[in-house]
Assembly symmetry: C2
Homo-oligomer: 333 residues x 2
Amino acid sequence: MNRQIVLASRPEGLPALDNFALVSGDMPVPGPGQFLLAHHYLGLAPAARIRMGAARSYAPPLPIGGVIYGQAVGRVGASRHPQFQEGDLVVSTDAGWQEYSVSDGARASRIDAAIAPERVWLGALGVSGLTAYVGLLDVGGPRATDTVVVSAAAGAVGSAVGQIARIKGCRVVGIAGGSAKCRYVTQELGLDASVDYHAADFARQLADACHAGIDLYFDNVGGAVRDTVWPLMNDFGRVVVCGQISEYGATAPAAGPGWFSLLTKRLSVRGFLLRDHEERHAAAVADMSRWYREGRIKGREQIVEGLEQAPAAFIRMLQGGNLGKTLVRLTTS
Amino acid sequence: MNRQIVLASRPEGLPALDNFALVSGDMPVPGPGQFLLAHHYLGLAPAARIRMGAARSYAPPLPIGGVIYGQAVGRVGASRHPQFQEGDLVVSTDAGWQEYSVSDGARASRIDAAIAPERVWLGALGVSGLTAYVGLLDVGGPRATDTVVVSAAAGAVGSAVGQIARIKGCRVVGIAGGSAKCRYVTQELGLDASVDYHAADFARQLADACHAGIDLYFDNVGGAVRDTVWPLMNDFGRVVVCGQISEYGATAPAAGPGWFSLLTKRLSVRGFLLRDHEERHAAAVADMSRWYREGRIKGREQIVEGLEQAPAAFIRMLQGGNLGKTLVRLTTS
């Protein structure tokens, strides 16, 4: 049997537990050119919330009864795929919230557990880390003289963004919710400063932390945080739009910041998705692996046990309750 | 004497005639490295409205009593500048609304009246045309398969944008106010289609004219027109923010369109000012001059007579009452 978490009903705003259902499906059987993957860990991603809604975005909405979108790392079972052998450790980015999946290899790659444990291949060395790498370096183009601000700085993507920007010599300010995350951002990740967006004087604190203005904003959240960042942008500033967590539950898109300063400050704003940058994956994994081995890229994982815990962990993540990458450990064989 | 139009009081919203005053100043005298320019034509630019306000933008606000910002073409008088000789025909981009100005040459260049009459060097071959050239080609990056939409398509910048995009093989849709401008855009400028933003069913008409969506939007106006364009943008679409006329009289910046589609469609939005692209002027003038001689770039000028007419012509331009570049003819010697 293959236990799965499926979409029971579409959420309005923040998902509730009853939007999810645990079901048992048949064990999938790989066809020609496919392999079976037994999932050891699932990686939860806020973007899964987008697909739970009815609106078409960059992906069609998940149908009711469909398996929730998610990444997994695990071991190849039966394989009819020439590049993946039984026993290989593999990360798959469209594995879904289930115990087993079948892959044609298009969104899967082998991992090297000698470089980092399996779970890290869903975080700093996985989709989150690669998103940070491509978004910051290719889309954002940081310069050593830049002040870089990253929101959700204690999250899976944000923590990698902040550390890569530090490696590139930037002054880096992380925005996070609560003092524990803010401490993590400066003390463990080594960012230059952190600012708690829950603080009553958040705008003033951010301005103080960015005394030379902001050259590059890596936006994981949108909404009110972005609107506080916006007036601090310097001339020729760049904004990388990577995530918009504040909008994932919205029924209508929120307005953006004024465009007049886009003109007067000659800003560049660019949205991106990792999936469009496949050609950069190898270089990203190589650099991130080296930095990880050197201790320059750290990450934390918050691990819950058992597939049935995935919905609660996901909801907690969307509420900002987690630090680092949120994983679900499964016991498959 | 040097007659000048100065800022008498700061406008709220649309300027009124009493925000301007006609004064007589002393004839300016060029110092070392400077020359005197006798203005034949002034070129009016909506951006002058920005500097009439109290807010700092990319330029400090004009002080009360300061000469209104504007371009001019004219003839060099007394010169103590090694590169500009008495008798040279010159265009100056910070000449101001006055009969004479003194220049250090930094924002001035000689023109070739054999290529086009003086007035054209304030329009298609002047700041407006160069803004279109740099903004469309360098910032927007049009491809022959693109559908390009330009707002204020009958205006000085927009008309050049539309024609350059046609030269580059794009399908080009112009947005303009009123049927006369819309006819001009298709019949004289040769754009593929035009849409009247005054029409009750503007959004539907625009969608019909852009049946394959919009790949590149050249935004001269911001506001409601931009918000109508926004949902039609294609994946990987690009938006060039060149002007924001709808906001020039606003007391507070208007909100922008939602950023969620910036992410889901991987859009790029970039504000720019011509002044940051000096290194492209020579190439732009060369290309634009050639296209002008070949009849592929046309422009119209609406000419009013006498410095005292400048404020009324400027207000009419901000209201959308003009077609092409608005010029003021002076009689200096």
